[in-house]
């Protein structure tokens, strides 16, 4: 793992940590899920082969080690996003479970009939459907902030909606479908000033840029380990302690209790109150290794690398005739490029790219309301991460041209 001292990533060195690249693929689907370096799978294997055991209820040495590593990830994550305390770091399967936890534990209790929930048309289904279900259950209403022609949220409309004193404002820091980087800090500030509780979906934020939840000022922040070099099965909900303390548990069972009696039960302290049953121990340990890996690179270098690549790709794609790019200019977007080709369906393009081992996403990107808004059933999407190199973008361009030749 390395950035070479100049604050630039040494991508060639990085790629050596990812055995999957030996297969020859050009992987351009990191916004979907990232690849994992040997350091991450190694940390998991270390657990499975040397101290595999359940945590917390430890009565022997290897369980102490497992507990230490498992809890150690919490401090690493706390430091990564600058939370005030590890009590505010809750493990979840991913962003989706983290948001569902809030929708159930905070939402069911606090959102009342007639309350307003403000979402955005850019949001991922995981940050829409839980609120739709909550709104239907509790009789709340939802309004969606629209985008302008560049795929950026209409801040004027957002401010208007805030005047109606929403109970909850939830939005993604970065759009997974268009790459739009929302002005999260300003939006949180305005929403807090309007009295709202604010959840930021950081699934496409935390993996790609430095995050400081205290500076951001949000109440909840959710993200997925599998999008940031970690294994599947482990993600994070950050919540402000005050709110978490006041919330009821979400799932219940082993390990999240203090005492269980026939007459009733008392719950464990934070953060464990929200972690019922045997957790994804190996996966949380793997996530810790992923955070270390990113820390070794430096989040600023990560962001700079993606920005450079995005500019490169944006320019290369702009040159292609019949290709429409969606979303803002490269300076205002993360490492995600969505596009369409005249006369060629995204699925057909993806299939043709697949013949060249170019892994491209085609579909609605779990953002159907956005697709409806854009008036397209689907787009093709290329997305980048720390291991992506220009050569892979070139291969994409080659596949696009091949598709145009076939469909000419």
């Amino acid at each position: 793992m390395s950035s070479n001292g100049t604050g630039r990533l040494d991508v060639a060195a990085i790629r050596k940590d990812f055995p999957i690249f030996e297969t020859g693929i050009a992987y351009l689907d990191s916004a979907n899920t990232s690849q994992r370096p040997r350091q991450v799978t190694g940390a998991m294997l270390d657990y499975f082969e040397h101290f595999n055991s359940n945590i917390h209820r430890a009565a022997y040495h290897i369980a102490d080690v497992a507990t230490e590593r498992y809890e150690g990830t919490r401090e690493k994550v706390r430091a990564l996003i600058n939370a005030a305390s590890t009590k505010e770091i809750i493990y979840a399967r991913g962003t989706t479970e983290a948001i569902n936890l809030v929708a159930y534990s905070w939402g069911r209790k606090n959102v009342k009939a007639g309350d307003l929930i403000v979402l955005t048309i850019l949001d991922h289904h995981s940050n829409i459907v839980p609120w739709q279900i909550l709104a239907a259950a509790n009789g709340a209403r939802i309004e969606y902030v629209d985008i302008d022609d560049r795929g950026e949220l209409r801040q004027d409309q957002f401010r208007e909606l805030l005047k109606r004193s929403p109970k909850l404002v939830a939005f993604s820091q970065v759009s997974n479908a268009l790459g739009t980087i929302n002005p999260a800090q300003e939006m949180v500030k305005a929403a807090k000033a309007a009295g709202a509780t604010v959840l930021v979906d950081g699934a496409q934020g935390a993996p790609h840029q430095g995050v400081d939840v205290q500076a951001l000022g949000c109440d909840f922040y959710a993200f997925s380990g599998h999008k940031m070099l970690g294994p599947t099965g482990a993600g994070i909900l950050y919540g402000r302690r005050e709110l978490l303390e006041a919330m009821d548990p979400f799932q219940s069972g082993g390990d999240m209790i203090k005492t269980v009696r026939i007459e009733g039960t008392t719950y464990h302290d934070l953060p464990w109150k929200f972690e019922a049953g045997t957790q994804a121990i190996g996966e949380v340990i793997g996530l810790g290794a992923a955070v270390d890996y990113l820390g070794g690179l430096g989040m600023d270098a990560v962001r700079a690398h993606e920005r450079e690549l995005t500019e490169y790709a944006y320019e290369a794609l702009s040159d292609i005739e019949g290709l429409t790019l969606y979303g803002p200019p490269p300076s205002r977007r993360a490492g995600v490029i969505s596009f369409a080709l005249a006369g060629i369906h995204p699925h057909d393009l993806a299939t043709i790219a697949d013949r060249d081992q170019v892994c491209l996403r085609a579909g609605h990107h779990c953002a159907m309301p956005l697709m409806t808004r854009l008036g397209v059933p689907a787009t093709a999407r290329a997305s980048f991460y720390v291991y992506t190199q220009k050569d892979e973008v070139d291969r994409l361009v080659g596949s696009i041209k091949e598709a145009q030749r076939i469909f000419k």
Partner: protein, 133 residues
């Protein structure tokens, strides 16, 4: 590593059916009309049938989507035109995939079979159950 798609994936005649779909459009007052979509990828196929004495006298399809779904629909209408409904009922997914004549990756199977689903659900009222197509 082998790739999912055969080199012949986008054969000339599939592209031809995609660009020049046969029996494309609508019928006035069809005896049967049915539309299905594949919400996960946005493909849509609909068919209108004119049936006389148990035989498909005329047929049109409409829709939008990828080359596979649209070419597959076009090919199917060619086959169905003039066919007895009873025979049409015997068409199964192997027939449809065989006619396409290319190797379809699991993720694209639904595109290829969307038109068959329209036939099954629309023309002879099978339950809309994934298992059945």
């Amino acid at each position: 590593m082998s790739t999912a798609a055969d080199d012949q994936f986008y054969r000339e005649y599939i592209l031809d059916h995609y660009k020049n779909p046969r029996n494309y459009g609508r019928l006035d007052n069809p005896d049967i009309t049915h539309e299905e979509d594949n919400p996960l990828c946005g493909d849509v196929v609909g068919m209108d049938f004119r049936v006389q004495e148990g035989v498909i006298e005329d047929i049109r399809f409409h829709g939008r989507g990828c080359a596979i779904s649209q070419a597959s629909a076009s090919l199917l209408t060619e086959r169905l035109k003039g066919m007895a409904l009873d025979d049409a009922k015997k068409i199964d997914k192997h027939d449809v995939l065989g006619e396409l004549g290319i190797q379809i990756s699991p993720a694209r199977i639904k595109c290829a079979l969307l038109s068959l689903k329209v036939l099954k659900v629309g023309a002879y009222g099978l339950a809309d159950d994934e298992d059945e197509v």
